[in-house]
Symmetry: C2
Subunit: 417 residues, 2 copies
């Protein structure tokens, strides 16, 4: 099913789908008729088991079990239990990952601890194209701490040569949200650690998109979100990772009762729990959390290398079709053309990108737009078909050739774009 | 339906229920057969509309609408929209409340801002019997800030005389989680403000239990949880309040993208949004948040003074029946006997309180236990019947007279107790 130099027609794509070893996984999702959903990088699709499970959680566990379900339905164990499952997807050990809060809040927690454990080091090093909220969180923390710390923001190409003994933590997003470009996690982690820095990876655009092996890369800290490729649902709780060897050396500044060594002893003094549990703060949103678990359970049945092979093939196919059919129509590929260098998305540039995406969405091709000119198309290996890619590019071509994007209603920005 | 000096029998309780103007509200909840649920102060019961609404949210808004639902289903507006609704329940204006994160995380945010806006003041003043997580959060923040700040913990009777010009913020829980005792919000707020301190109230045990008028009391800051009397579901998102006049003077140290002035501009520098929105951090858990909204909508149809009258009457009835039938059985009332001084719970003390509660739960009377010896019984005015109170006390009497609590399996502590 490799994409080679021959022309690819719709029949060929259908034959790719027939040979796809992951084809049947699509049946595990509920997908609307008539929509080519290429935005699983922003909000993953709904697993078929989520609604039945949430019906049980709401009706039986909450409705009938009531407060007793914290024990009887094992709600209290959910953050660690689901964390252990996510650990298996990102190359971590049991007890190294826990589900909690949002990615932003988890990032705040871990950055604060990374600075505190190395008080003589003053810098958080990151890159200019990092996901903006990661920069904002670092800025907010540094302002709160007052004076002694700074955020050093460099271009991608300057990261390694910007490392020195003043860097407390190198904070990077593994897969770039705009271009989809993948960082070399192992090399950058080793490079930073050579200078004694800790390394924190944001896996939000990686988990479920590309294989990750945190332990093999000897990563110190990581955060990630549950609602993109992992399919945990809108605003699903996030997760965080702390390498075993570091866990007892740090503790969270957001020291809420769920991270206490004895949360029901109601002691007056905070004592952090052992292990990853000390990273918890307040009570977790159980409905959203158990929806995430359904999706993670689905992921645990997937051969991740097979998923990676398919997502690379889907991206290659998309690029090939855009090259063949959208030449001279104002779009250019903004992602690495070499599949191993990009995550599970392909971005295109168009000067009227916002309007083009609005027009595409109106025609049932759902991707998203990122300012200033990026059209993003995500290829979840679990439910995207080769023929979807073919049809999406055909509709893109139609929008571009007809200039359907040039309608006045597409000029108005929606709150979320 | 007042509880006076006459003996109250079961028939009388049934007649109270027949005359109860809120009796029909119970039909708005799903409650299990055979359970007397007196723990709505810890996890509120399931509103009947929650499951149909979540079925729609999951199946239609997530499943079919997918990413488009952030706009089309107004997910993006949910934190502010539900905040505005909660504002009506706690005497705040529209734009003063927003739903976000957990109570612990919100407390961290607001305490940090209260300290930062008054850099010459070094103390957070609170009381020893405050809910422990509130103390932990303050401790974690102070440790993070390093050196200049301290938590001053005093006994309840010492609060007012401990106020002085060194206090940055007075942090109190309005209704005590253990005894149910209510603080005089208006008097304490004014007393602290006379010394120039800000005042932060934790409303977790108040909202839905007692009338609150934050604006009338001229409160500066508040936090509260959605899953107790408000019935938002297990671990429902929390809310926070910042008085209008203070909103632009402070900004959150947890500066995530949802609190940015232009979250989809993807700027590199954090710029706080105007108003209460700047208190948001990361993406909210939409499933849990929209379950909370169902419960808040239900609350908006309730006459809160009527609810307060009923909850006081239920508590008075409980105390009267305990006095009459459980004398010399080892329990004593640990809450204020005067209804206007307590929230919507009555606590009892028993030296074997943990085992007594386990035995009660096994007999279908669900309250909870708080260390070292407190049995808590919560009386949600929305679904608790007078006859439930009668039957619960009868079963309590049976457990105490039979010493049914003295079975070996009740000695083992459950994770959540």
């Amino acid at each position: 099913m490799g994409v080679d130099n021959r022309c690819v027609d719709r029949e060929t794509c259908l034959s790719f789908d027939r040979q796809d070893p992951l084809a049947s996984v699509r049946d595990e999702f509920v997908l609307p008729e008539g929509v080519l959903y290429l935005d699983g990088n922003s909000l993953g699709a709904l697993p078929r088991q989520t609604l039945p499970r949430l019906t049980q959680v709401i009706g039986e566990e909450w409705g009938s079990g009531l407060i007793r379900s914290w024990n009887a339905a094992h709600w209290i164990e959910a953050p660690a239990r689901i964390g252990d499952k996510i650990a298996r997807l990102i190359g971590a050990q049991a007890g190294e990952v826990i589900v909690a809060d949002s990615t932003s809040v988890n990032l705040f927690k871990l950055l604060a601890q990374a600075l505190r454990v190395q008080p003589e080091r003053h810098f958080i090093l990151t890159e200019a194209s990092n996901f903006p909220t990661d920069l904002y969180v670092a800025q907010g923390l540094i302002e709160l701490l007052g004076g002694n710390h700074a955020l050093r923001v460099v271009e991608r190409a300057e990261i390694e040569r910007s490392l020195d003994g003043s860097v407390a933590v190198l904070m990077l997003t593994h897969v770039d949200y705009g271009s989809g470009e993948i960082h070399d996690m192992r090399r950058l982690t080793a490079a930073a650690q050579k200078f004694g820095a800790l390394v924190l990876w944001d896996l939000s655009h990686s988990a479920g998109a590309v294989p990750i092996d945190l332990n093999a890369a000897q990563v110190d800290l990581a955060v990630g979100c549950g609602y993109k490729y992992l399919n945990g649902g809108p605003g699903a709780p996030a997760y965080l990772f702390v390498a075993k060897g570091l866990q007892e050396a740090i503790h969270s500044p957001l020291s809420g009762w769920m991270g206490h060594a004895a949360p029901f002893a109601f002691e007056q003094e905070y004592r952090p729990a052992l292990g990853i549990t000390r990273q918890l703060a307040g009570s977790p949103p159980i409905l959203s959390m158990l929806a995430l678990e359904v999706a993670i359970d689905l992921w645990l049945g997937i051969d991740q290398l097979e998923a990676r092979r398919k997502s690379m093939a889907l991206g290659d196919l998309f690029i090939k079709l855009v090259d063949e059919t959208c030449r001279d129509l104002g779009v250019e590929v903004a992602s690495p053309r070499e599949a191993r260098l990009r995550g599970s998305q392909v971005s295109l540039r168009h000067t009227e990108g916002y309007r083009v995406m609005r027009a595409l969405i109106d025609r049932g091709v759902v991707g998203d737009f990122r300012t200033p000119d990026i059209l993003r198309f995500g290829f979840s290996a679990l439910y995207t078909r080769y023929v979807d890619v073919f049809d999406a590019v055909r509709r893109l071509r139609e929008v571009l050739t007809s200039r359907a994007w040039n309608r006045p209603e597409y000029a108005n920005r929606l709150p979320v774009t």
